[in-house]
């Protein structure tokens, strides 16, 4: 029972992370294409301004909780995905410093340099997360001792690439919707248009990804035993549809919430199909890392559950308050403030 709760919490933390940092990745990836001048570029930066740092902590928490609840999964997963994970972390480092450094020197070439870094620092983690999760869904070549027999190129097979592209597209749409919510005037109109444009691509790649999931992985085996699980991908697609409806009504906040629902449900579709495995082995099903052979002791799981039950709702409450505090549309006055990026 404890292991099951922790499996769901594990999925939930990753899902929250993708919903929150996802729009940051989208903003940074779209920035060179969607903004026409310095003021618009700064609007894109400041749309993520007060949020990205707190969003990133969900990644640390997801990583930390994987370590605490499923130490073997933590060890096997991150040593297996050594190169992509480090590339991803370097991307996050570059993203963070581009936020901080860019505004500190008023020189066009300095800013251009950090704009480029910012783009790479956002698109690279988004892509690599997609590639990594698709490969986890498909199973990693790990042996009985959890040792990885592959390399970074093996991850870039068709299913992994489609997963990566889907993540990038979904995050870009998610980010465009957030930008529509946070901006006014021409940038708002462009963000709305971009979100609608990307919507079609997200839908297309979602369907492609689901079909490939059926052929490349065994995730749907569980769905056939428990057809109720089909509600997850169906609701995901429904959320996507509602997001478009809200975009046409120019209600970006509602559209963003549906887009958030879509991202969460896509992650949970994968998580449900994985259960009870955390990392399936593509070499031998018996070598998979599961909640049974990877979990911490009941004592540790109980203590961590108490911590999470107290603190995660508290964190969500004060982060929601902070989101509300900074939910206004960005104006020239905001950009002129000496605290703006």
């Amino acid at each position: 029972m404890l292991e099951l709760i922790w499996f769901i919490l594990w999925g939930l933390l990753w899902a929250i992370y993708f919903v929150l940092d996802g729009f940051d990745f989208g903003l940074g990836t779209l920035m060179p294409f969607i903004s026409g001048n310095e003021a618009e570029r700064r609007t894109v930066y400041n749309a993520a301004g007060p949020f990205w740092d707190g969003n990133e902590v969900w990644l640390i928490t997801a990583g930390g909780v994987t370590f605490a609840a499923f130490p073997t999964a933590y060890a096997v997963l991150f040593s297996s995905l050594y190169a992509p994970l480090l590339l991803l972390l370097f991307g996050l480092i570059i993203r963070a410093v581009s936020f901080e450094f860019r505004s500190k020197v008023d020189c066009p070439r300095w800013r251009q340099l950090w704009d480029r870094c910012h783009f790479i620092g956002n698109i690279m983690p988004a892509l690599l997360f997609g590639v990594a999760f698709a490969n986890i869904f498909q199973g990693l070549p790990i042996d009985a001792a959890g040792v990885y027999h592959g390399n970074i190129l093996k991850l870039l097979q068709p299913y992994g690439i489609v997963g990566g592209v889907l993540f990038v597209l979904a995050f870009c749409m998610h980010g465009a919707i957030w930008l529509a919510f946070k901006s006014a005037g021409p940038l708002h109109a462009r963000a709305l248009f971009t979100a609608k444009f990307l919507w079609g691509w997200v839908l297309g790649f979602s369907v492609l990804f689901l079909l490939m999931t059926y052929t490349y992985t065994d995730l749907f085996a569980k769905f056939i035993t428990y057809p109720v699980f089909f509600m997850l991908p169906i609701t995901a697609v429904a959320c996507l549809a509602f997001a478009l409806v809200m975009l046409f009504q120019d209600k970006p906040l509602e559209a963003w919430l549906f887009s958030a629902g879509y991202i969460m449900l896509v992650i949970f579709t994968g998580i449900a199909g994985l259960f009870p495995r955390l990392i399936p082995s593509s070499l031998n099903p018996d070598w998979s890392v599961t909640i049974h052979n990877a979990a911490s002791s009941p004592k540790t799981l109980t203590i961590m559950l108490i911590v999470v039950i107290i603190f995660v709702p508290l964190v969500i409450a004060y982060q929601a308050w902070a989101y509300k505090l900074f939910s206004h549309k960005l104006t020239d006055k905001d950009l002129a403030s000496d605290s703006a990026y």
Partner: protein, 441 residues
Amino acid sequence: MDVVLLSRLQFAAAVFFHFVFVPLTLGLTIFLAYLETRFYKSGDEEYKRMAKFWGKLFLINFALGIVTGITLVFQFGTNWANYSKYVGDVFGPLLAIEATVAFFLESTFIAVWHFGRDRVSKKIHLLSIWLVAAGAHISSLWIILANGWMQNPVGYVLRNGRAELESFWAVVGNPFAWGQLIHTLLAAWLLGAFFIMGVSAWHLMRKHEEKFFAYSFRCGTLAAIALSLLLLAQGHHHGMMVARMQPSKLAAMESHWETTSHAPMYLLVIPDESKERNLVEAFAVPGMLSILAHGDSSAEVTGLKAFPKEDRPPVLITFLSFRAMVGLGSLFPLLAILAWFWREKLAARRWFGWALILAIPLPLVAIMAGWSVAEVGRQPWIVWQLMRTHEGVSAIPGYSVGLSLLAFIGIYSLLGALDVWLLARYARRGPAPLPPQQPNA
């Protein structure tokens, strides 16, 4: 080079670089919270200007502390998979609690403090900087409980082929970890004080914004005097704890080979590890090592030869790091006390002003040396007498670690240099001018 050495070097690079920025964050948050409190209570705009000036430097420094911390959370999994599997049940929760309890607090409220000055009430604004300070300090508690457990593993039982948690409260109450925590925090605050002193000295030498920087200088200097003296006393206490719990580390710190009572301390020592002796031992202070280690000049101090060779830490690095830390630690009170007496004479004694500016990185050097003693001196154990370092490493190819180590060094040195350049640039620029007085405002 083998995976173990490369992974150790990579962890050292990542953690050292991270810890360039974190201690200054810890030191400056307290000062910022103090300034904001003064501003809240008095309404004097001068305090707000100070909070904004030091806050700008704080933020430039903070950003790199955050990003270099993220890689550390994953390093245990990437490079130390067997360690993570073996002790994750005890060690993992400490990292997870750190993120859940501290990092969210810090990162959310730093945005409220930085971007929200005109959006929240004065009370909430003040509260937010205190929550940032609380988050930073709570985080240091959990990460040092984690390191303290590697130094002095408690509250666990060997079961199911791994170390499992037996008593959470024993892990949280680990006396060794609390000693380390206090030592680390005092040192971090001292770095903050020296930073404030040095930057203020730069402006005072030039008679620039004298009232503004004279106040900061006084705050920094008083804090530096108190903290540097406390550190000497507490450091001695912590050293006695090391002597009791990790005698092989203590012996390496002093390059002390033979077990003797009435052990003297030599002011000049040149260790010769290959011959298990010291090449030079000069200027003995009789019984001093016995006093430092056990508080009694006749006490017996265990020498390195009492331990099998495979259980000894590398002597030279541990010894030199310890000497560097203690030497610098003894210099700090002198510098701080001089700074207090000459606080109004900096424009005349520019050489002393320059000495204070050049002294900014010295507490950092001492901190790095201290962590080298703690970590290199813990070898060959990754967890003291429970797991050897080479047993903890991941089954990954050496070239992967070699490449990532190069990438770490390249990216980190570039970003570190840029960050120091930005810090210096904003520190030299000084505070924004006071806004013109509005009538009846």
